[in-house]
């Protein structure tokens, strides 16, 4: 059987090898609980950053409200596990589906229009979702949150699930960018009218990507809730959560395939350091970073590494850029 056209052996081998090595880390190398925690958190953050990028990067529709999807997926999954005693994976799936449908509910009307309607609307969606979830305490537990069941060996199990989720995220990112479908998304981003002229249905494709992004975001949120065995609306649905996804995309390179994954790794590391050392400067420093990246290197770390590679005689393939 021939692999699809978007498939490349080399990156696939590298990513898979890395995944296997990481999966073997806890039993073989006996890493500390702290490191294992950080790694798990990084895996799910990578998946979430990539999911944000499908919409913000591939289609150029920047969302400032993805925490709403992340949080909704978490709350639905948590509620189903607590009240309906649904198995974890099933609850995650349900959370993801609800988040995807919720994204469609407000995204479908706003994505049809050109320009920044969608971005502005997402600010409102994030705020409204947080308000409603804080007050609907019969569903979300209100500001005191909800605790989820903890079972033995759950953390290690989630470590491996995290790797799997990140892998699916990476594969989907390649598929969404390199397949003919990905070319269609690029066409929509560049010129909606021209895309329509060659028979690309921008409405259907944008909705599809939005749903996928919401689905993945919801599953990541559900994973997060299971991992902490706890979920509450203030942090999960907060504005800072939403913009953390924007940061990861911008730091790594908006619209690149793996840039946001790199951005997520950097973000988790930097955030840990800042939260520990300068909690009161955290937002402003990321603001400065945002301004500097946009002004000097709009493709973030990906653009920077390409620039360095070019200096050493590397000839880039054109499809790496946005």
């Amino acid at each position: 059987m021939k692999p699809p056209r978007w498939f490349r052996w080399r990156p696939a081998a590298i990513v898979l090898g890395l995944a296997v090595a990481l999966a073997l880390l806890p039993p073989v190398a006996r890493i500390s609980v702290y490191t294992q925690n950080q790694l798990t958190l990084t895996f799910v953050t990578i998946a979430a950053a990539l999911a944000w990028n499908w919409l913000g990067g591939y289609l150029g529709q920047v969302s400032f409200g993805h925490a709403a999807l992340f949080g909704l997926g978490g709350f639905v999954a948590a509620r189903l596990q607590i009240s309906a005693h649904l198995p974890m994976i099933l609850a995650w799936t349900a959370g993801g589906l609800v988040a995807g449908l919720y994204a469609l509910a407000w995204g479908h009307p706003t994505l049809r229009l050109r320009g920044p309607y969608f971005s502005i609307a997402t600010i409102g969606v994030g705020e409204a979702t947080r308000l409603v979830c804080t007050y609907w305490d019969w569903f979300t537990g209100g500001s005191s949150g909800m605790s989820l069941p903890v079972t033995a060996g759950l953390k290690l199990q989630l470590y491996w699930y995290g790797i799997a989720i990140a892998l699916v995220g990476v594969a989907t990112s390649y598929w969404l960018r390199r397949s003919p479908l990905g070319m269609a998304l690029l066409a929509i981003k560049s010129d909606v009218d021209a895309a329509g002229d060659v028979g690309i249905s921008s409405v259907r494709l944008q909705d599809g990507v939005l749903f996928l992004s919401g689905l993945a975001m919801g599953i990541c949120g559900a994973f997060n809730a299971s991992y902490y065995s706890f979920i509450e609306p203030v942090e999960t649905l907060g504005f800072e959560k939403s913009i953390s996804f924007v940061f990861m995309g911008v730091i790594g390179g908006v619209g690149t395939i793996l840039g946001p994954a790199l951005g997520a790794v950097v973000f988790v590391l930097v955030r840990q350091y800042f939260i520990a050392s300068y909690p009161q400067l955290y937002l402003g420093l990321f603001g400065v970073l945002l301004v500097l990246v946009i002004l000097f290197e709009p493709l973030g770390l990906t653009g920077l590494s390409l620039r360095v590679a070019r200096r050493f005689g590397y000839r880039e393939r054109p499809d790496l850029s946005t």
Binding site: G56, G60, V62, F64, W106, P109, T110, R112, L113, R114, G115, P116, Y117, S119, I120, A121, I123, G124, V125, E127, A128, L131, V132, Y135, F239, I243, V246, V250, V254, Q280, L281, Y282, L283, G284, L285, F286, G287, V288, L289, L290, V291, I294, L295, P298
Partner: protein, 292 residues
């Protein structure tokens, strides 16, 4: 009941002045530069803190500090344009990059305010803060009336400026077609800079006025940005009258929503209205397309 309804209507009319002021700033910049100034919320917050600081430190009445705030905010806007927005590559200015850039500026302002003034809620209390005048059996707070008056004067002056002066006409011309303006000898870059300054000044004016009505903290301005955008979408670009009517609609819907939904959801009303308008009348209420 009738009195209650009258109360709500009157207060909506007065609130509409504030909404129109902040929305016009956002709409002006968007109409001329095709850039959504995400830092609009930041400048509303900055205006509020400036008025509060002047009152707190020097006992200056918030309404008297407005001229100084306007000038300072205008300069901030000019600098933001010349230092940041102008450096974006052509074509990118209207897209994702300008959104992210100005969003970064907003975060910096927010963090600065947090560092300087802490995250506590602040209010400006003056001798007339709690005074009210009777009107047709309803009570109107003096502050609301003053806010409305200032907004009315500002919008009137702006309308005259844009329609009667040479510079104002140039701004409107650039909004229609920057290329032709270059050919006709209009200094387009300078007009952009001026427009950005004007829009920013209007945002800070709205912020300073808002101190008479609300408590605020460094996060202030996010909801206001959204409301401004709702008004811009509803009312279309360019016309002061359209903006005013749209602001009134938003204020009325918000005020009367208290009768049917719990009060904590009031701030979500504007957003629901936005989505409804986008679905039902994407061209705005008056047929002018905001985006073409």
């Amino acid at each position: 009941m009738i009195e209650h309804l009258l109360d709500l209507t009157v207060s909506a009319f007065l609130l509409a002045g504030l909404y129109a002021t902040m929305a016009y700033g956002l709409g002006l910049i968007y109409g001329v530069l095709r850039v959504v100034n995400l830092n609009h919320g930041g400048m509303i917050m900055a205006g509020a803190y400036a008025a509060w600081w002047a009152h707190d430190q020097f006992g200056l009445d918030p309404y008297l500090s407005i001229p100084i705030i306007l000038v300072l905010a205008f300069l901030v806007g000019v600098l933001t344009y010349a230092g940041l927005v102008r450096r974006l590559p052509r074509g990118a200015a209207g897209g994702v990059q300008s959104l992210l850039l100005l969003f970064g500026v907003w975060l910096i302002l927010r963090n600065a305010a947090y560092l300087i003034f802490s995250g506590n809620d602040q209010t400006v209390l003056t001798s007339y803060s709690t005074k009210a005048l009777p009107f047709l059996g309803a009570q109107i707070s003096v502050n609301r009336l003053a806010v409305f008056g200032v907004a009315l004067v500002t919008l009137g002056a702006l309308h005259l400026f844009l329609t009667r002066t040479y510079v104002g006409k140039a701004i409107r011309a650039v909004a229609q077609n920057p290329e032709s303006c270059t050919l006709a000898g209009v200094p387009v870059q300078r007009i952009y800079m001026l427009t950005f300054g004007l829009g920013t000044a209007l945002a800070s004016l709205a912020g300073a006025l808002a101190t008479g009505l609300y408590a605020f903290n460094p996060g202030f301005g996010a909801t206001e940005l959204l409301k401004s955008f709702v008004v811009v979408v509803l009312g279309g670009l360019g016309s002061v009258a359209g903006t005013a009517v749209a602001a009134l609609i938003l204020a009325l819907v918000e005020n009367f929503s208290i009768l049917v939904i719990p009060s904590y959801l009031t701030s979500a009303v504007g957003f629901v209205l936005l989505v409804l308008v986008l679905v039902l009348r994407p061209g705005g209420l008056f047929g002018q397309r905001v985006l073409g």
